[in-house]
Symmetry: C2
C-alpha cells in the first residue's frame, strides 16, 4: 500500500487537521473531529448539514462555507458518521431556521442521519440523493446510490438557503434537483482503504468496472478496457435514457475524477461526453470538471448530467466560497 | 496502460478541445491548438505567456484568465512547445504593453521560448523559474528544474500585470518571487506517457523516489517508503535550508499532488509540513492544496514554500479568474 500517511488509524484526524489549518478562513473543526463547520454563521438561515464516510474528499468538508454547507460530518474511510456527530453539528450551526440534512443513499448514512434527526431537538428535514443510474441496488444501498450529483444538490440548495429560503422550500428544491440529476461511473483501478491495506477489488490490466460505485462497489459488468468515446457513449446513453429530457433541454455536465485520474484525461472525457450529449439534442451550458467526489486513489471517472432551468442555473451561478468550489467571492 | 483516452496521438488535441469547451467563458483555443488564450484582453496590459510540455494540467492552460496568464502554449506530453506556438500566441495577445514569458527551466523550453522572443517582433522579456531544490542539474535541465513554484510566480506577476505594472517591473517581480520560492517532490509511483505506453521508471512496491522531477526524472535517491512525517521532515528541511529565511518570516505553503494522489493525503501532508515549518519558526499564512502541477497519473506530491512579504501577499490575494484558480471574482 503506497500512501502518504503516517498510520492507517490516524489518516482521518491528520487529514482533517491539515484541512482545517489550510482553510481556517472558512471553517472550524468541531471537538473530537465530529464535524467541520462554517466559521461565520448567519442567524436564522436554514443550516445545511451533510456528511458520510471519508475517502471522497473534497466531498463533503470541502463544500462547507458561504453559499453551500454549514457543516459536514466525516465518518472513518467509507464508514458512516455516527448520530452523535450530526447531533453535535446541529447544536453548533442551527441558528433558528431549522436544519436540512443532505444524505447520500447508503443504508448506514440514511439510518444514522435519521437517528440524529430524531434526537437533535430541532426542526430537521432530509433530502436523500440517489443519482447513480448504474444499478438499482448495491452493496450498501437499497435503491440507487448517491454519488457525484450530490454536490450539485448541495450547491443549488446552499445558494437558495443563503438567499433566505425556508426549510420546506429547500427540501423540495433538493428533491427537485436530485430528480433532475443522473450519474454513472467507470473504474480503471481499485481504491485501497488504508485500514485494509489492499485493493478493494481486483481488475486485470485490460479490464474496467463499468458502473462502479464510489466505494468500489460492483457496477453493471466488468469488461475490456475501452476508448474514452466508447465509455462516454455508454455512460451518457444510460444517463439520458433515464432522464428522458425534452429536446433542446439545458444541462450541466460534471466530469468527476475518482482520485487517481489526471486532469488531462478528465478534459478529454468532457470532449467525449459533450459529443454524445449534443448528439442527443442537449445544450450543455454549465461545466464542472475535476476530482470532487473521489474514491481515494481509484482511477476512473463519473459523468453527471443535471437538467437545470433558468432558476436553477442562477442558483448554480450564485456566489460560493468553500475550499473546493469558489466563485463570485 | 490504463487511461481514459481514444488514441495516444489524439490525447492532447481532444483534451484541449474539452478544456476550451468547458471554460469557453474564460479562454479561446488558438488555430491548430498552438495556444490557449484569454478571451478578453486588456489593451496596453503586459501580456503574460507561459507554456511547456503537456501532462502537467492544470498548468499552464488552467492558469489563463483575468489576473494570471494571457496565453499558454501546450507542447505534446512532456515535450516543449515549438517557437511558432509562442510567436502565434504573442501575435494573438500582445496589445501594446510588451510580453513577459514565464518559462520553467528545461533546456527545450528555454531554447524554444528564446527563439520565439527573437522572432516575435515585439518587446519580450523572460523569467525562468527554477524552484526545485532536489538536484542541481537534471535529465533535461542545466541548473535546477522549474516545478510547482511556477504557479506562484504566474499568480503574483499576473496580479501585478492586471494592476498596470510595466514589463521591466514584472520581470523583476517574477525573478524576486522565483528567488523566494523553493520546492521538492516525492513519487510513490511512476507516470505513464501515453505515446510510450509504459511507466517512465520502475519503483518496487516498497520504494519511493525522493526529489523526483515532474517528468519522472530521478531525484536525490530511491529509498524505502517512509511515513508522511518523515517525508515532510526531509523535504521541508531541504527547502528551508536553501531559503534561509529570517525567524518569523511569513510563508505560503503549496502542497501539490502529482495527479494520482488523493486529496485526503494532500491535506495530511499539509498537516505534516506545517508541523515542520512551525518548528523552524516560519509563520504560514497562505495555503494552496491540490493537484496543480501534475505528472500525469504519478502518485506523490511536492511541497513548495514561498516567502511572501505584505506586498507579495496582496498580489497573491488579488482577484483571479482562471479554470484552476479562482477567487475574488
Amino acid at each position: 500500500m503506497k500512501k502518504l500517511i503516517n498510520a492507517p488509524d490516524a489518516v482521518l484526524t491528520e487529514s482533517l487537521a491539515g484541512f482545517a489549518a489550510a482553510h481556517a478562513d472558512i471553517v472550524l473543526l468541531g471537538a473530537e473531529h465530529k464535524f467541520v463547520r462554517r466559521r461565520d454563521l448567519r442567524p436564522g438561515k436554514v443550516a445545511l448539514i451533510s456528511g458520510g464516510g471519508s475517502g471522497h474528499e473534497p466531498l463533503h468538508a470541502g463544500f462547507v462555507g458561504r453559499g453551500m454547507l454549514d457543516a459536514a460530518c466525516p465518518g472513518q474511510v467509507f464508514t458512516s458518521p455516527t448520530p452523535d456527530q450530526m447531533v453535535a453539528a446541529v447544536e453548533a450551526v442551527e441558528t433558528g431556521g431549522g436544519c436540512l440534512f443532505i444524505v447520500k443513499n447508503y443504508e448506514g448514512d440514511v439510518m444514522n442521519f435519521q437517528m440524529a434527526a430524531e434526537i437533535a431537538g430541532k426542526e430537521v428535514a432530509t433530502v436523500v440523493t440517489d443519482d447513480d443510474v448504474a444499478v438499482e441496488k448495491s452493496t450498501w444501498s437499497t435503491g440507487r446510490r448517491g454519488v457525484a450529483g450530490t454536490l450539485i444538490v448541495e450547491k443549488i440548495v446552499g445558494a437558495a438557503a443563503e438567499q433566505g429560503a425556508a426549510l420546506s422550500q429547500l427540501q423540495a428544491l433538493g428533491e427537485q434537483v436530485n430528480g433532475r440529476t443522473r450519474s454513472m461511473g467507470v473504474a480503471l483501478t481499485s481504491c485501497i482503504v488504508p485500514a485494509a491495506g489492499k485493493p478493494t477489488f481486483a481488475l486485470d490490466e485490460n479490464q474496467m468496472e463499468m458502473g462502479v460505485g464510489i466505494h468500489g462497489e460492483p457496477g453493471r459488468r466488468r469488461v475490456a478496457l475501452a476508448s474514452a468515446d466508447t465509455i462516454a457513449d455508454e455512460m451518457v446513453d444510460a444517463i439520458v435514457r433515464d432522464l428522458a429530457p425534452r429536446a433542446g433541454a439545458e444541462a450541466l455536465l460534471l466530469v468527476n475524477g475518482f482520485g487517481g485520474t489526471p486532469t488531462m484525461e478528465l478534459y478529454l472525457m468532457v470532449h467525449s461526453a459533450l459529443r454524445v450529449l449534443r448528439g442527443k439534442g442537449l445544450r450543455v451550458s454549465r461545466f464542472l470538471t475535476g476530482s470532487y467526489v473521489t474514491s481515494l486513489e481509484m482511477a476512473g471517472c463519473s459523468i453527471t448530467v443535471s437538467l437545470l432551468d433558468d432558476a436553477l442555473m442562477n442558483l448554480w451561478d450564485a456566489p460560493v466560497h468553500t475550499a473546493a468550489l469558489r466563485w463570485g467571492i
